[in-house]
Symmetry: C2
Subunit: 159 residues, 2 copies
DNA sequence: AAGTACTTGACTATTTTAGTAGGGTATTAG
DNA sequence: CTAATACCCTACTAAAATAGTCAAGTACTT
């Protein structure tokens, strides 16, 4: 398995969508600011998420991204698979031919591990994450920070 | 978390030790042949394993490596930690300061995941692996392959 | 005394990741 | 209509991590 910032960013972005896209679509720029993730990098991730059918886009002013379906239907495993090809932990990609065409000593161990991780991440939906108290707290902090930042910018311009 | 061939090789090598070091120490060269892993690369891994106190070395002719303690006391998690610094899945290394000093939206999710993986890998000892039927089968195949290979070399020399 | 086998460190090629740049194209508010 | 907005797409690059090599040791046993 490989879990990198790529997968982490994707889940973070999707969670941001779950938290803020109820009324209107959310633009990548907004997410980029709120989660402090590079805008262009996020765009690449959303291209993958769109291909996987997890999000929907609305173009033009006032546009942005929206989740496809409800938050309880999207699990973390889906998001990671969408941007991070696989959750497989074996060296052989599940083929069992590590050692010159034959299966290696530890193949089944990694296979089991992969199943374990997949099971765990499949059991957690965006709805589960949104429901957590700490997620709510952090989300509120992020909105506040953004507001005071904008406020400061306005004041700076006025001067 | 990052699970790479580094960690996989280490577990494979330790399992090889568990299978063959009962009577005499096993040399890195032997393991290299049996598991088809680069010799010099294995040496690096064993340096880490020795530092972690998982193996013991015997120098000189007939020397090699031996496990420290019995196979039921060494778990897979220990081995991976020894060569692959950590099993942590967060981006921040557990500090919770991903987002400019503050905790990010998904920190707790990755933290939970890390615990899950650590729990799984801590629950599996070398003894558990040795006891598995498929491991026995594969180990036997590896020994046979090596014997016929040596046999062929002897014949080649005779000619 | 000699050979075996561990020990150490530096060094390199390859791959992956994270991020940038710079063009588009569709949509809509005004 | 048109200009601003925001998605869309491709190629590129810097930096890091991995996998593996090389070479010169040191300790020990037969
Ligand atoms: S990991 Fe699948 S055969 Fe080795
Ligand atoms: S992963 Fe720990 S704060 Fe973001």
């Amino acid at each position: 398995m490989r879990l990198t910032t790529r997968g982490r960013y994707a889940v973070t972005a999707m969670l941001d969508l779950a938290l803020h896209s109820e009324k209107r679509p959310v633009s990548v720029a907004e997410i980029s600011e709120r989660q402090t993730i590079s805008l262009s990098y996020l765009e690449q991730l959303f291209a993958s998420l769109r291909k996987a059918g997890l999000v929907d886009s609305v173009r033009g002013p006032g546009g942005g991204y929206r989740l496809v379906g409800t938050t309880d239907l999207i699990c973390v495993a889906d998001i990671i698979k969408a941007v991070n090809e696989s959750i497989d932990s074996t060296n052989c990609g599940g083929k069992g031919d590590c050692q010159g065409g034959s299966i290696c000593l530890t193949h089944n161990l990694w296979d089991d591990l992969g199943r374990q991780i997949a099971g765990f991440l499949s059991g957690i939906s965006l709805a589960d994450l949104v429901a957590k108290r700490d997620v709510q707290t952090i989300a509120n902090r992020q909105v506040d920070q953004l507001l005071t930042l904008e406020d400061n910018n306005v004041r700076a311009k006025a001067c």
